[in-house]
Symmetry: C3
Subunit: 240 residues, 3 copies
């Protein structure tokens, strides 16, 4: 593509490659679920994720050794990773990092709506869970946990500038977390781009409303950054 | 009533009668859950719904033959239907069809909040589920599934013009769907009128915000249609 | 504190003391879950709540006598209360009582997002539930239940004027309810102050939107009350 691109394309390589992404998150100094290289080490429950799985397809939850032996065969021709399954509630945090102001913003939050796993709790008998994302619903985070949510975002931005290149991660990104009963975040994944959950907030979110006196979607925030860069003659800081 | 009525009253007959409604939905060419005329054919789980049940009262989930024999006795003096219980997540899509523009709009979406079925997942022991609707919460749909959501609405509008009368279904209606892990919609029911889930969107929704540059509730959308019909001298197209 | 305080500090004593709070709610004539003074009387399931528990920490769900004997030992050095566990869905109603207009307003509603109890339904095996609040999500209530929601608020305001002092409960407060399948509210707790769930509604809620023609958060509603009191020279009615 010869068209200029908002953001840093090198970051996408780190996002796409599960090994590189895991390295990035771990080196950022944020909590991540343990990964098992050897299935003998697995402490149950675990989740098997095939590489290149998208939208939650290709995930499998396993609660004991016997079940693991059976399910792992279904993954045999694919690359996969085995992670400890963190028991807690999911939260997706939508950030925006501005290279112009050098400030990080939390623009909104959501939780994903997954089929059939978000239906298990409505059925009084056991079925095999699946994690296909079909929607998003809005949430706000307990106030006392906001500083940590903010710091996690800052840590991955900072590490990206050291690990990827000087420009690092810019613009919108999302940390996908699980929160455990001791109020600890586990970061499951990073999306280094605008995420579907922001569709909830076309006219702003409780967080964007605190930062801006006008309806601020993530799309508009990107447009604003480009406009500001043009004004300040700094397009090179935000385009790739 | 001698007062003019926004909408088409004949549609309400088709909505109210479960047999006619089922015929309308099936003939529209959209996915619906299988219904069992003979209980011997039932593939479990199934759900028994008494005719005239409203707000989710009078539904019963059944997971095996033995359970069915017991529960069906409770329905003996009422008319009822036995449907295959689709395992997936519920989504309610709020449409508006304008006879003036001949265009269908998606104004908002919700999921119902049902007691006690939305509590089962918060309890580590089994209880008998019930489906009484007590509220609604907001959602957005995965973008790649929006075209199908839109087409389903178009299909029931088109079929209503063939099956009911020339005017067919107009104004607000809602398709109540279940989405399965293969990202397939099953339409459980149609409400041919304004639904409670639109109460979430008094000042607009992410979908209405994309269509209108002002806060657009379903109520306001109806008022707008009436105003436009007056201006264009086409009240006969929207009143009954 | 010599600074004037918006609200009535005496109310906080009644909120903080579980015995006094229980007395207030029960005498208000609203439904509350049964409390067991003698563990022999407990009808399962029950929930044990330690005094001073906040944000849902220190709650324990118990489903049988054996389990109760084990768990109660963990509470032995703390004061605690044993309540019947009401099976239904939670709803938190945010009220505002204005001493100036003598009117009660419903400003918004939410449900809490709790870890790990809101994850149980996503896991096909049993784990011990915990109730630590980590967020809030928006909801609207079924319309036919709004009059009762409103009356419950009026009842606790009225009783506070008889039980606490003449000024009684003023400004923002929240009733934490469980709704059962017979559409009955059980009030679990009262928060006599602004609650975290209002963070969802920085730019208004469906309920506030019906009352005000501008975005009305609970914070702004308090500011408005103070401004109006200054104008009407009635600051003594709202400050303590």
């Amino acid at each position: 593509m010869t068209l200029p691109y908002f953001g840093n394309k090198k970051v996408l390589d780190f996002e796409f490659d599960r090994i590189k992404q895991g390295e990035w998150l771990k080196k950022s100094g944020i909590n991540t679920p343990q990964e098992y290289k050897n299935i003998k080490d697995a402490e149950f429950p675990v989740i098997i994720k095939s590489f290149g799985a998208s939208g939650g397809k290709g995930y499998s939850l396993v609660n004991n050794k016997n079940d693991l032996d059976i399910k792992i065969k279904l993954f045999k021709n694919r690359k996969f990773v085995i992670q400890k399954y963190i028991i807690g509630v999911p939260l997706y945090i939508h950030y925006f990092y501005s290279p112009l102001t050098k400030k990080l913003e939390i623009l909104s939050m959501d939780r994903r709506y997954e089929t059939n796993v978000d239906a298990l709790g409505r059925i009084p008998f056991n079925i095999e869970p699946s994690y296909v994302v079909v929607g998003n619903s809005p949430l706000v985070l307990r106030e006392s946990m906001l500083p940590e949510a903010y710091e996690m975002g800052e840590k991955v931005v900072k590490k990206s500038q050291e690990l990827i290149d000087e420009q690092g991660l810019i613009g919108p990104f999302c940390l996908e977390t699980i929160i455990t009963p001791d109020q600890k975040f586990y970061v499951i994944e990073i999306s280094a781009r605008i995420v579907a959950g922001t569709n909830l907030f076309i006219e702003g979110s409780p967080y964007a409303d605190l930062l801006y006196n006008e309806p601020m979607s993530t799309g508009r925030r990107i447009a604003r950054e480009i406009k500001n860069a043009i004004k300040e003659n700094k397009l090179d800081q935000i385009l790739d």
